[in-house]
């Protein structure tokens, strides 16, 4: 012991909802990565049954209305997953559906309920307010950056990252972050704890049967998330040959040893945007936001699109089938406006 110390200037009082430690995670990965070269193809129903458990800490890929793994979200709702702890940085439609369906227990909040240009769905907001006020939902406050860094810290195998925001903000008090004086510069720094999740679900453009995955467009928090969950489900537009992966290894953003399940679901992110493939279905988004104005119309929406179908292919038929999907492809490629 040097006798010297680093001052802790302030501590947030927020809870840490992900209790996994770096050492526990190391032990887990030691065994898991032995399955690097296993054929991991599986259907979405089985994947959700097998890898998502009630009470899990769950983190999902994509951002805004882009590359959300909607097929997985539907299936979790159909299987009535409960008491999930959610990493809720940059969440929109996926989070809202799960919250209103009663799947969520606690959240690390970066951005919730908002739907950018479509506003905040009324029922979801009311639901969140009631759950917070009744103590039914635990919430810790962060922001998109600190949430992204918490995932990144975990992916780096370290228990925290030092960052330079969150200071002077009230969110800090409701987070599990601590503020210190930097032992090198003497300046204030915030340390945010890593999030090692139980399960992560990410939708990608393409991957091979082992899970080596390529993603186009904005990556948001997906690199950090995919590497720091005990179980990783990849849903993919397409399964490709490993030879294609080996032709462009710089593009393998998620190597196979992180992956537990590979589920092929074309258009699996509808109604959200798959960069380079199909655009966001703005009409469907508006339909959802309108439905979320009251309980009965929202229930109708769930019954029609989630409970009323047995799988995502059937859902795709309901939202307009091939014709609609081709239109969204044309929209993405600027062939129509």
């Amino acid at each position: 012991m040097s006798g010297k110390v680093i001052e802790i200037l302030e501590e947030g009082s927020g809870q840490i909802f992900s209790k996994i430690t770096p050492n526990e995670f190391r032990e887990h990965m030691r065994e898991k990565v032995k399955n690097a070269w296993r054929d991991k193809r599986i259907d979405i129903k089985t994947a959700i049954q097998q890898f998502v458990h009630d009470g899990d800490y769950l983190t999902m890929g994509g951002v805004s209305f882009v590359r959300l793994s909607m097929a997985a979200v539907h299936e979790m709702i159909r299987q009535k997953k409960r008491n999930l702890n959610l990493a809720a940085g940059t969440r929109t439609y996926d989070f809202n559906l799960m919250l209103d369906a009663g799947c969520v227990k606690n959240i690390d909040c970066g951005y919730i309920t908002g739907m950018e240009i479509f506003g905040i769905p009324y029922m979801t907001r009311k639901n969140a307010e009631r759950m917070i006020t009744d103590g039914e939902m635990g919430i810790a406050e962060y922001d998109n950056a600190s949430m992204a860094w918490r995932h990144k810290a975990a992916a780096m195998g370290i228990p925290f990252l030092p960052i330079r925001n969150m200071m002077g903000a009230d969110g800090f008090k409701h987070s599990a972050a601590i503020k210190i004086r930097c032992p090198f510069t003497g300046e204030e720094l915030v340390l945010v704890p890593a999030i090692y999740a139980d399960v992560c679900i990410i939708h990608v453009h393409r991957c091979d049967i082992y899970g080596n995955a390529q993603i186009e467009g904005a990556l948001n928090e997906d690199l950090g998330k995919s590497k720091s969950a005990k179980r990783l489900i990849i849903t993919t537009e397409k399964i490709i040959d490993t030879d294609e992966i080996r032709l462009a290894p710089d593009r393998t953003l998620i190597p196979c040893f992180y992956v537990d399940a590979v589920v092929e679901i074309p258009y699996g992110t509808h109604p959200t945007n798959m960069p380079g493939m199909y655009y966001v279905d703005i009409d469907h988004m508006k339909e959802y936001v309108a439905a979320a104005r009251d309980r009965s119309s929202l229930e109708e929406y769930y019954n029609k699109y989630i409970f009323g179908v047995k799988n995502f292919a059937e859902y795709l038929e309901k939202v307009g089938g091939k014709e609609r999907l081709h239109y969204l492809e044309d929209l993405e490629h600027l062939r129509v406006r």
Partner: protein, 266 residues
Amino acid sequence: MRNRDYNIIELMAIIAAREIEDRAVIYIGTGIPMLAASLAQHMHAPNIVPVFEAGGVAPQMPTLPTSVGCSRTTYRAIRTCDMPEIFEMAQLGIAHYAFLGGAQVDQYGNINSTVKGRYEAPSVRWPGSGGANAFGSLCWRTMIIMNHEKRRFIEKVDFITTPGYIDGPGAREKAGLPPGTGPYRVFTDKALLDFEERTKRMRLIGLLPEVTLDEVIQNTGFELLITEDLKQLPPPTDEELSVLREKVDPFRIVLSRGDKNSKEEN
């Protein structure tokens, strides 16, 4: 609505665009910031670098994006990456301007987008920070866009989601935020405001065309500093309007929101 040949979204975008310096790196969200940045780029600031938090750097957007991660934000970009990389650029000092919205703002430019009322039992729960806290903390100059209403421009925000000058000069630095950063301009549907150097309090520096000083004061919930040479801001020029309408948003994806007076997202 006053009788005029431009809508409020068009006007705000044009006022904001004028404040953007050339060669700046600009962190932008959907909506007005996008219009403003794109207009500035077409007018006096061809060498700016637009950046989107989900991972798009310097795209050539074919149409205005519908969200901050949308494929339009990475179209013909010079770099696509993940969110940590984007915020690390800001942490490293590579972000001249950030645009933020919010539900409440106070005289020191502190922004609330988390809760109305008591945190534990909010009367309204808003989405939370999103990218705002990091933008407002790490970027050099924060540009705030808000509707000018008394219930939004208040003495003290219920919750500081994104710190402005907190409670006055030196408070940001004391809290440990990177020095030299902070709120820079506030764009509203009535006025242009900055922050007075000595006190770090919000100051009225321009009135939008046809708006009166009294109107602004009436719609502000705290005592506003007013610059000595308060100006009525020049209305949009024909050139500004035509570039905005013909080049920046020809399909009126965002501009149309001013037509029906729809709300700005935060």
